[in-house]
Amino acid sequence: MSEAAAAAKVKIRKIVTFVEETRSEMGRELNPAVRRAAAAAVIANPLAGKYVEDLTELINAGEELGALLADRAVAALGIPGSSVESYGKAAAVGENGEIEHAAAILHPKLGAPVRKAMGKGAALIPSSKKRGGLGVPLDIPLGHKDAAFVRSHFDGMEIRIADAPRADEIVVAVAVTDSGRPLPRVGGLTKDQIKGEDGLR
């Protein structure tokens, strides 16, 4: 692949943001409300319809999208990035692409700019990927950004875009929250016990 292609900017058809504000659960008021946001970009898949060995173009796209989507998601939540408690990422590849295309976007380079937008983020960014048609739901896994074992923050956020991904497109999403699940009570590590040394506990 040429250097020009590797440096080409991502071709974005649309960006969709979702904000959920849950004020009560099972009749119990949540104060403050539990809030989470996701930002998703629908991009052209430059490698659709053929086998390409070198995935550099998509790896670089991941870096660009990580910065863009983290900024959008945090802005949608209306809080400083440092106040984000949990995060996650996901991609859905249209029918003419490969699961490996989602992996190329999500794993090598997308995480660094996401963590930068949060101030820190020692924990693994949980992820999911799939191939599917238009309107396919993405279940974005969520985990605490500083300690993956915080049980109250194990969660998932479903999003879908009715008209994407088309066959030659990929939907890429980043989700952030300002809290864990509503009414968490299954024990385990709590956020006030985070040591913050290894990203796990």
Binding site: K14, T17, E21, A76, A162
Partner: protein, 194 residues
């Protein structure tokens, strides 16, 4: 007078750059605000349900303000609108009709007067039901470039005893509108139709 019990509010913003054609200078934005509320009439037939329309007015206004904020904060940028409701399984379609007046009131209030009828749709459905909310121009229903729809829904709503209320606004015509008909620039603005 039943209070309005809101379980959750979801805001969705789409920023559309192109759909295969030449990208316009300004991307199109479409936004929806969805509120999941308890249905005070679920599970039984109630003859007199109209008082709940007044109860819903503050929520209609709050959702409309959230829409404007989601679209960038300028009410003048809004060109299209629509509304809808999904009634949970323990309710009836008529409960969804209670949204017509307060939903329309809220949007007109923040838009500073909009002449066209607000396009709407409603149904009874379970959690995750999708609703295609119709969209038309805020001042003239026949503007063809602004006929649109936005699909919305929430995975865990409406539960049986809930109603999902939806309001939608857009900032312009379909992204590559070219199917002719009345143009926004040709609106007379007298009757809300043309």
């Amino acid at each position: 007078m039943p209070e309005v019990r809101v379980r959750k509010i979801e805001t969705i913003v789409e920023e559309i750059f192109h759909e295969g054609g030449p990208p316009p200078a300004t991307p199109l934005k479409r936004a929806a605000v969805l509120a999941v509320i308890h249905n005070p009439y679920a599970g039984a037939y109630s003859e007199n349900i109209q008082p709940f329309m007044d109860d819903l007015r503050p929520l209609g206004l709050e959702m409309s303000k959230r829409l404007i904020a989601a679209l960038g904060g300028n009410a003048k940028a809004v060109e299209g609108y629509g509304k809808g409701a999904i009634v949970g399984a323990a309710g009836e379609l008529e409960h969804g009709a209670l949204w017509h007046a307060p939903g329309g009131y809220g949007m007109r209030e923040v838009l500073g007067g909009a002449k066209a009828i607000v396009a709407s749709t409603k149904k009874v459905g379970g959690p995750g039901t999708r609703l295609d909310v119709p969209i038309t121009h805020i001042n003239a229903s026949y503007v063809r470039s602004h006929f649109d729809a936005m699909e919305v829904g929430i995975t865990d709503a409406p539960r049986a005893e809930e109603i999902l209320l939806a309001l939608v606004m857009t900032t312009g015509p379909r992204i590559h509108a070219r199917a002719g008909g009345l143009k926004a620039s040709e609106i007379k603005g007298e009757d809300g139709l043309r």
